[in-house]
């Protein structure tokens, strides 16, 4: 009997370990891994999944077995054996979890140390969060700004993250990277993207009505493509419509405004479709052009009913060049 029990126990143990390994290797629960950090984090995650699967099956299995095996009929009035404790058993089941968490803790710490190492030749990108857009600034490229993040594959980046208003959180799932954007503070995050592609950037800290819309994209590309982009984005396109679209994109207007021409659908701010017509009718004696221009430079001046004050960036007058302002005004007049 005893040998049979031991044999069965070993069989169950092997089966459990087998399932654990299968879970660790076979389950694909993380998104694409596109950075060096991601690989290290995913490895830790897989091992933890394996361990968690074994523990869960063991404990839950024992519970389900017990429920099925030890049920009695309603009229059964007998008691179970008066067992109060078992010191050795309790010691074992205290020590084993303790050892498991220590091992996981140490491994996690090593992964953490590995992924937060700064490199020699980092490219610095400043990330400025504001309700509800991301602004990426490249100090090494003449303070070029964009609402879309472009990175060079294999090039380490140090993000310096802050906010202009409330706390946001800069999150790129494919990189397994996240850091809060806090006003009055610059928080650092280091990553090296390793896979070409486009990866979502999402805000991960509730920041107001447009939190769900605070989205962008990390474009990981070759060095030459990156340089072409830098070249392209440093100056306004010549064609007026293209110039308007360029400015709309650069300042992240789509985060809050619907505009068919740009394919944006957010309702955090007023709909821009038809604004060219409406702007001239809003205020007696004010031309559409003046209305649009003033609404950009001083958003609180002509607040549309039903929309909260203070959501639109208040500093476009400082950030936009005269040419950009002119371009967007002309563009919107045609919408």
């Amino acid at each position: 009997m005893r040998e049979r029990t031991i044999f069965l126990l070993i069989l169950v143990a092997l089966a459990l370990i087998g399932v654990g390994v299968l879970a660790a290797v076979g389950l694909d629960l993380m998104p694409t891994a596109a950075a060096d950090r991601a690989d290290a984090v995913d490895q830790l995650f897989r091992i933890m999944i394996g361990v968690a699967t074994v523990i869960f099956l063991l404990v839950e299995g024992a519970l389900v077995f017990a429920v099925l095996r030890f049920r009695v009929k309603e009229d059964d009035e007998s008691s179970g054996p008066p067992v109060h404790d078992n010191l050795s058993l309790e010691l074992v089941w205290t020590l084993i979890p303790a050892i498991i968490v220590v091992v996981i803790g140490v491994y996690s710490f090593r992964v953490l140390s590995a992924i937060e190492v700064t490199a020699e030749d980092e490219m610095v990108v400043e990330v400025v969060a504001r309700q509800f857009t991301w602004e990426f600034r490249y100090p090494e490229f003449d303070n070029l700004t964009s609402s879309q993040l472009h990175l060079v594959v294999g090039q380490p980046v140090r993000f310096e993250i802050t906010s202009e208003d409330v706390i946001h959180s800069f999150y790129i799932p494919a990189f397994r990277a996240k850091r809060d954007a806090t006003p009055g503070q610059i928080s650092e995050l280091v990553v090296t993207p390793t896979e070409l592609g486009r990866y979502p950037i999402r805000c991960a800290e509730l920041c107001g009505a447009g939190h769900a819309n605070m989205l962008s994209e990390a474009v990981v590309e070759s060095e030459s493509d990156f340089e072409a982009w830098v070249e392209n984005i440093s100056s306004l396109p010549d064609d007026p419509t293209e110039a308007g679209r360029f400015v709309f994109e650069k300042y992240g207007c789509g985060a809050c405004h619907t505009l068919e021409d740009m394919g944006t659908t957010s309702t955090v701010g007023p709909d821009m479709n038809g604004i060219g017509q409406r702007a001239g009718e809003r205020i007696e004696g004010m031309t559409a052009e003046d209305y649009i221009r003033q609404s950009l430079l001083d958003p609180s001046a002509h607040l549309v009913e039903g929309f909260a004050d203070g959501l639109m960036p208040q500093d476009l007058d400082q950030r936009m060049s005269e040419a950009e302002l002119e371009a967007i005004v002309q563009y919107l007049l045609n919408q």
């Binding site: 404990v59 078992n86 968490v101 220590v102 799932p173 850091r179 809060d180 806090t182 503070q185």
Partner: protein, 540 residues
Amino acid sequence: MTSETAAAERPNWRRYFAWNTDHKVIGIQYLVTTFFFFLVGGLIAMLIRFELIQPGVDLVDGTVFNRFLTNHGSTMIFLWVIPVLAGFGNYVLPLQLGAKDMAFPRLNALSYWLLLTGGLIMLGSFFVGASESGWTAYAPLSIEGPDGQSLWAVSIFILGFSSIFGAINFLVTTVTMRAEGVTLWRLPLFVWGMIATSISVVVATPVLTTALVMVALDRMAGTMFFSAAAGASPVHYQSLFWFYSHPAVYIMVLPAMGIISEVLPVFSRKPIFGYKTIAISSMAISVLGMTVWAHHMFTSGMDPRLRLPFMITSMIIAVPTGVKIFSWLATVWDGKLHLKTPMLFSLGFISMFLIGGIGGIFLAAIPIDIHVHDTYFVVGHLHMVLFGGSVFGIFAGLYYWFPKITGRMYQEWLGKVHFWLTLVGTILTYIPMHLAGLAGMPRRIVDYADEFTDLNVLASIGGFILGIAVLPFIYNVIVSWARGPAAGNNPWRALTLEWQTSSPPPEHNFEHEPRMDHGPYDFGHDLVTGTPAAAPASGD
């Protein structure tokens, strides 16, 4: 007194709507009031899941959605889970100690009326521009929110006092009002759970109160405690907030674990395994729970060197928790299991809490937390432990003590329907959330990328099942309370003192001076019609 006499002398229903210092009346006031708030919070949850069943902004816009999620969380935490467990404490603790009431009956009544007042103020805040910065109310967002945010802060200020007064009462009552034979190591584990909780309440709640007073002052009095422009750190709010709010989750689970420890031995006809270990683990969790708070802040830009100690403490706390699960497992092992509704919910608690607890280890691992912080992984985890854990425990307690409180037995088959719907709903709602979080879906968003649709559909269907699941419970309670069969003193043949008096108990709880001659779970020593012979409690 027999239960028949007790039922005939049942107090006038008007007592329950007035100031009354009897802990049994106050207990019922708590249980009914908090259940009402559970339904309010649950209704909001249904609206949230309705919005999220498809991508796109369908039902409500971002602002209203933020109000929904804020008030769902706030209602469930401050007006349901925390106070309903205090309600159980109110009703059951004095009885289990063999006392005739709490140490401070008037303070006890005050605690209830503060709860009701705070709750009504929080509901009122919905109508003046509800708070919309999450139940976490991070500055600076909460500083600039609408007027309802200030009312919300006032409401929690008041609720904090309700909680603290209750905790003081539980502690003093347990220390000073135990009947003959109710020694330290014969205290029921529910009492241990209430003691452990009360310590956390008393130590941590004042810090939340402080944080919210600072927010209120920044909003209304022009102070700049959290203003970046003035050179302050908004992150400081988070430290203050989480110093309370992490212990709060243990405040929400320790009494529920105590309920599980009551139910399992009774329905396994076997002593609780590892009584002393469970008692000590409860105290350990309460103390350790006050050392982990910054694991909510790993991505906040906090000093990187401080992250490691918090990871360590957060992992260590898994050990006493795991020990409890194993002890419960050993309790049912080789017992004589009666799968009545309280037992089903207790077994469900263990299963769901196992999942939630394992999820907690993932969150404690900083590199993984960086990826899943503020995503649906956390939403799934927190609901697994709070709903799959605490709420299952609460229902276990409601069914278990229903006959004692009302003198009548509920309908068992309806209880089983409630249980199975709830178990299926819980798994269907919260497991997909973990997967959505891993895939990169942030929390607190009214709209999401198309790739998350399937998981959200599953979660919404599960959520609707949970909503429906409550209906048989409500029906059961109403019908059984009105005309269920008389339950008798001790329908479960349990050994703790509350079962050694009538159902419901007389005004002074016990006709004859109660005494305990044995441990609270000494099944199997000599069971003749539910009365055990005197047996030494473990450790004596």
